[in-house]
Amino acid sequence: MANEDVWVVIPVYNEERVIADVVEHVRETFPNVVCVDDGSADQSAARIAGTRAHLVRHPINLGQGAALQTGLSYALARPGAKYFVTFDADGQHRPEDAERMVEVARSGEADAVLGSRFLEQAQSVPWLKRAVLRLVVAMSPTARKMQLTDAHNGLRVFSRRVAERLHISMNGMAHASEIVSFLAKSDFRVEEVPVTILYTDYSKTKGQSLVNGVNILFDLSLRDRG
């Protein structure tokens, strides 16, 4: 089967309604899926256990960044794993986008491939969200330096070299900025690929609130200290 060397990491927190469908859909393209249940209070873990995805359960809720790192650590320990995809649990990403991004990584053009909502058509993004996300990019020196158009997209592909070096220490939502600044400081080649985000009613209710941006800025400004 194709894509045996690809591992898809899905951090899951209270997604019992959609997670099984998302996993099955992803597994049509990528056979290796690891779901990290981040201490969900609902039946997410049971839904995942009903699929053929690997299940890792945090004993306590640690945050999305921590769940991503756990999934990457688990996938890195699997023999033959070469490419690592981060994928959101709420069904807003498309596996075909992920596959195109893996192809870019496979071609050797880039060590890390990031999905961008803004590279081609930005129509699917609600305007307020679009404005805020653009502001985040404009305010982030690293994102500007790398000329990224979208710093907070959950769809990413890492080569094994990148995944081995990456250690996400921001447990909460600040991990997205942390990953971008890690890539900016490294000498890895980074490529952005346009992706389509499916803003369903469900994913809208699960999306990051804009107020959370304040928390992210606070976390980032105080990291690695004390």
Partner: protein, 138 residues
């Protein structure tokens, strides 16, 4: 006027302290000396309130008690941020612990579920390292 300068410098010092990335032995000793000086000032203020009043007047503040209040606010903010950062350090350790446990158990469970070949089970993962885990106490 002088008091405002001194207090602003104190606030700036705290900010600088938390923005600097070095937290070594010297920093730790500095924190302890600052704590000792603050306590000594308190003892002096209790025994000789006129000293505090004199210092307050020198700095351009009305009363010694006001000066003490200002200094207490500065010390409180410093202590609070320090505790916050230590709390985050503890959080990072808990994360590592939970992650190691989760992966170890997942390998067993996923093997039982038949999605993971037994040859794949490593059970010694803990690959993530925390670089900044020197032992620290305030």
């Amino acid at each position: 006027m002088l008091a405002q300068i001194v207090l602003l410098i104190a606030v700036a010092g705290i900010l600088l302290y938390f923005v600097s990335r070095r937290h070594n032995v010297r920093m730790q000793a500095g924190k302890r000396i600052a704590l000792f000086l603050f306590l000594a000032l308190n003892v002096d203020a209790v025994l000789f309130p006129q000293h505090l009043t004199w210092l307050a007047h020198f700095l351009g503040i009305g009363r010694g008690a006001d000066l003490l209040l200002y200094l207490t606010v500065v010390a409180f903010v410093f202590g609070m941020l320090n505790t916050y950062l230590r709390f985050r350090g503890t959080n990072a350790q808990i994360t590592e612990l939970a992650r190691t446990l989760a992966i170890r158990e997942a390998e067993l469970v996923n093997h039982q579920r038949g999605v993971l070949a037994s040859a794949d089970v490593h059970t010694t993962v803990a690959s993530t390292n925390i670089t900044d885990q020197e032992h620290r106490s305030t």
